[in-house]
Assembly symmetry: D2
Homo-oligomer: 403 residues x 4
């Protein structure tokens, strides 16, 4: 619905695997379903292999392709850099992009270490006029955004307890090949950082509170995996394809519990071995006046228990989050005509472009991403110290209703 | 994924309300998620009001807008006409488009009367090199397509019973205003043709069988409604806005049962008054070896009961239809990352463009749409004759696995 | 909780198969979980074979056994006759029992024909001081009773539409043996009378309205079955065991729709061939202000949609019907500790004994059972007449809140 | 189905609140639904207040009542002592009963401390011919027993991960009165011992493995509660009724994770503050070949994911655990006619009486209960030590298929 006469916002996207495809769909769609102050243009996609990235540009609808991200970032005709690469490159690219005066959207987790994440936050602070956003898109699932609104409105009272899980099963097969996602150098951590990060962010977002401490345990069920040319997510790791087995250097699953700023307690679990759970990103939140429950495998639904109703009329209400008055839904279809996974990315683009237009801070910011990084590090530290409790500094508040 | 070097397929879309928006999203997306033999170009959108349609073109991403559909249809640079208008104009536009040598994609139901639908089938038969497809997109929900495959593969044995419902609630409020969808002249029928048509098509598609007879009852709960300038779907009906109440001349709900070619029995219900059911297009199919169940409100799931397993291990299996091997899914995301309502339209474009490229017949064809029209007419005839059974001629077979 | 000093109510039960076991559990339990005005005593169980019935008495906890029901009915020390035999014997036993001054509880359906049912109602009218109750126990599932209360309280407004199904699958196997339940002489009808009767009663009970007309279709999928010595429910039919196949003379499935007194429309289906549905007695009721949904396979839950709440907060609320304030629950366990199938029978005994004590009329009465019988007959008549609509006389009202 | 000629097993039950009512229903029913080697007789119920316990005897169907448990235990005509009192009295009664040569069934948790539990195990070891069973009845929910069988059969391969929760909400209201369950002296612990104990036992039972270590956190949300004459579970605590507020000395919620003998990891949560969850005792178990999931709020269902089936046909299968071949079901109703909460108690009696008859060891034994007690203590110790990991000695194996 964006006017053709709106100024252009020219985007360079670095990386074009699974995340690149999802981001492309979002950049292509957002302007046609929402009124935006700037008209996104899919200017250039960047990858390491010239032929492959040229094919991606053709396929995904980018005007150009390139192999040298440093040069692309320097181009005057690029306004925003969208980072879709593995975590070990986030800091370098983001710092360069911010230094070059570009807005940045960076995939999660923000970085592979707290130190990298801190450097990114510092860079963002040096460039306050630029957006520095991290891509926790599950926030932008309408049902999750509605959960946040209901908590913020006091609908469930004060939060007492949270339980959150992100369960997948794609590594359960012991013969699934080694990819960069199982390599600590590339990925930082395993299930913890890849999917655990999402539920940490979602819980902080929905409750409006930071985690202040955790105790946890991480586990690697399968210590060696076959080296293969192309796993589900790409690159070869640790040796030539077909030459045997390589070590898994990240966690396969993580369990932890913690406290939120108010003292509320929260239990978390992330696993890539929960057979039958394909993308079960789910949470339950219990407050003093009610509860909320969500499962991404049924992503258009939020369940709400309202303890203020008479006991005999109470129960979890299965809200189909497809009403025009629900978050993000005014852009889409009539009630009951649900959305899918990719819509979170489109909503992310909508919110980011509007923040650019309005000069407000798009959230989750790098500071939000840094806090998640601190939680991830604390879980690993606890696991290495007999699960002992680790305090987590809270150095940036969660402002209310910024997006 | 369609190559930029593929020949263009230039599309003119007539109408741009709810269906126009859904079709636009599909035309915009299909070439980027699937390899197509032709590259769709969103050439021109057509509407009655110049300013409004120009805004729609800008918003939805069409290159041009126009007000005179007859002239657009005659243009040499248009290859395909996509009809998204109310049912009373389908026949006229489709006949003109086919006569002008254009492929046609026509929204459902095919027409408002059997006679109109017959004329459309005759026109399609006179132009065998052109596609004449009707838009029953629910067929292209992956879970529905999987259900068809499982029936065709014999997984549930011979079909004995079907129950299908399409339940909405948007007219339950007696003060909801009169729109063209409540006007028999414009819409042909009410819940019966609007949503009942979808479950008739879905049942015939999934079972691979035509309905051969029905008995039914239709009901109009609210006989008068306020006249309003703009209902959810548009145009004023039967008087000037604000001048009072006008008559509802279509059904609000329809219940009917029938037989399929094999003798299997099927029960149907369509309603716009089922409070709480927003878009519950659902069916259960019982065969001699198992059953299938689907509900669009949880559209990424197909439930399957396999009676060949031991009783103590049996139960409905909730298949999350998001595996790469599932219908249409290779174009999309990893397992568990579900699709939404609009994806059926993208799949429709993919199948249609591939049929054009391959020179095969895209289904559902106008002949398929005509049979649905005959069922709708038979339900109305039965309701008018004390629910007496009405035979339905079957003059076109359902070929197997054509799409 | 019934005092040991309460006067005894001495019961004779005729028949001791599945229903006899369920009734025994109820007679044994009721006095210990509810305060009753009379203390049930399990006096005598009656069957045709002396040894078998003696074993049943021992097993099920009856003081005595007997083979001659006529003599038992005449005994002075018997207060109530509980009829658990096949339908062809209901009228004879009930008439004799009422004539002998005994209260009667008769399993459903009331009889095999309308004429028999009419004679039973006439007998009951001649003995107004005696209870003449028919065993539609599903009414006494707490969630079903709650549904009735919510309709009666106006919680969902005026009823517009109902859909009810009773789906089982135990006859889907074509080699399942012939039993009395497949013999029209013994059973009256098949799925229609056995399980369809339950949903007819449940819909009339919950809506507080009689059905005034129906159109329907019945079907026998498997026309011949092997003759076996003992099917799931007993007796040999149509020949000596092992001698081959005998005819199925009842329906396997029935579909029908009808109108309630207010004009509301209702769709029904009963089947013993719905693979995977073991005891799916379910209904949805749409009113002008909300909806209710129930499925016996999850019997402790009633779903309620309240259309008076704002759309964005609405959805079906899954009420766990286990609160002490819910119907029948004060006799049982804390919230969340659900009940099972047999509890409906215990509740039936509680209500019946209390009605005896209070001198009120226990419902469903024989008159209620007669109306169900008229509906069953009308469905069969319609099916035999090209599904033509059949009017159903309503000669007894459904009073409000009698139990 | 137990023969009237079977020898009697005369039972004395100490305590008659919620648990006493559930046990009474079980003692009354078991012999009539299962063939038992001994015929239970409800001989005497014991309580502190003569009048109250006499009323309970009358109501619940016990032949006699008494106030002095020591004397009852000494009676020659008592064979089994059923302990339904708060945890602080378990050890004393059980030791006396075993010393007096009586079989003992003791409610859970076995005791309030590890030391008490150890003394009970020692007493049981001194009396090897007597049963010493602890009442973790959830084991005897058919779906839980089926889960155990499927794990033991290797159906889901080696267990890798478990998550188990027991969520209730009856203390969420801050004005709910203080009862003995909130008093550490009486109850030992709060949610941890009351309901956490159940999921510890269930996980050990289903996986066939002991927990070998845990780390945890406990929390008391409401530190003071009004003193009332009669809470949901009875007795006054800490002062005269109506005199003000008293301290809650137990946990309201506990979160912990641990390892099983094989190294599998398990996450647990127990809470009485999870609004909307009434009795959500639930678990998921992920193995190398599949997963199982259970929720007591839908207690007749076990969900099973079979990873050995092709991905596109896979999903959680909702097994309705009501087939005659399922655990315990041969005693009950046809498929789909579900059981309720109390049936676990009846199954407990069946198993216990059969073990007495056969001279085998009824499980869970006091040794099983002691291990649960050690886990509870370890969770509390961890919570008091910054959540540091606590090793748990495993001094008794879980034998296979003993019940």
């Amino acid at each position: 619905m964006t006017s053709a006469s709106a100024p252009a916002l020219r985007v360079a996207m670095i990386g074009y695997a699974f995340m690149g495809a999802a981001h492309s769909q979002a950049w292509r769609t957002a302007g046609h379903v929402a009124e935006l102050p700037l008209r996104p243009e899919m200017a250039v996609v960047v990858g390491r292999h010239a032929e492959a990235v040229a094919g991606a540009a053709d396929r995904l609808g980018w005007q150009e392709s390139a192999v040298d991200w440093q040069r692309v970032i320097e181009r005057d005709d690029i306004d925003l850099v969208d980072i879709c690469t593995p975590g070990d490159t986030h800091a370098e690219i983001a710092l360069a992009a911010l230094a070059a005066g570009k807005h940045v959207l960076c995939e999660k987790p923000l970085a592979n270490t707290v130190a990298e994440a801190e450097s990114m936050v510092a860079a963002a602070q040096r460039a306050p006029s630029l957006q520095a956003m991290v891509g926790f898109t599950y926030r932008r699932t309408p049902a999750v955004a509605l959960a946040r609104d209901l908590v913020a409105d006091g609908t469930i009272g004060r939060v007492r307890q949270v339980r959150a899980q992100y369960l997948q099963d794609w590594l359960s097969d012991e013969q699934a090949p080694l990819t960069w996602r199982m390599d600590k150098e590339k990925a930082g951590s395993g299930a913890l950082g890849d999917i655990g990060a999402h539920i940490i962010d979602a819980v902080e977002f929905v409750t409006g509170q930071r985690l202040t401490g955790v105790a946890g345990l991480t586990e690697t069920f399968v210590k060696q995996r076959p080296i293969a040319a192309d796993g589900p997510s790409g690159s070869i790791v640790g040796g030539a394809a077909g030459t045997g087995y390589g070590p898994v250097t990240v966690d396969d699953a993580a369990v932890f519990f913690g406290r939120l700023e108010s003292g509320a307690i929260a239990a978390f679990e992330a696993s890539r071995f929960a057979l039958g759970r394909k993308n079960a990103m789910r949470f339950e939140i219990n407050g003093t006046d009610g509860s909320l429950a969500f499962d991404f495998e049924n992503m258009n639904v939020l369940e709400h228990y309202d303890a203020r109703r008479p006991a005999e009329a109470s129960g979890f209400t299965r809200i189909l989050v497809t009403e025009p008055s629900h978050p993000y839904l005014s852009s889409w279809w009539p009630p009951g005509h649900g959305l899918g996974y990719e819509h979170g990315f489109t909503h992310q683009v909508i919110d980011l472009v509007r923040a650019i237009g309005a000069g407000t801070v798009a959230r989750p910011s790098f500071a939000d991403g840094l806090h998640v990084q601190r939680v991830l590090a604390a879980v690993e530290a606890s696991s290495a110290a007999e699960s002992r409790w680790q305090q987590i500094p809270v150095d940036s508040p969660i402002a209310e209703r910024e997006n």
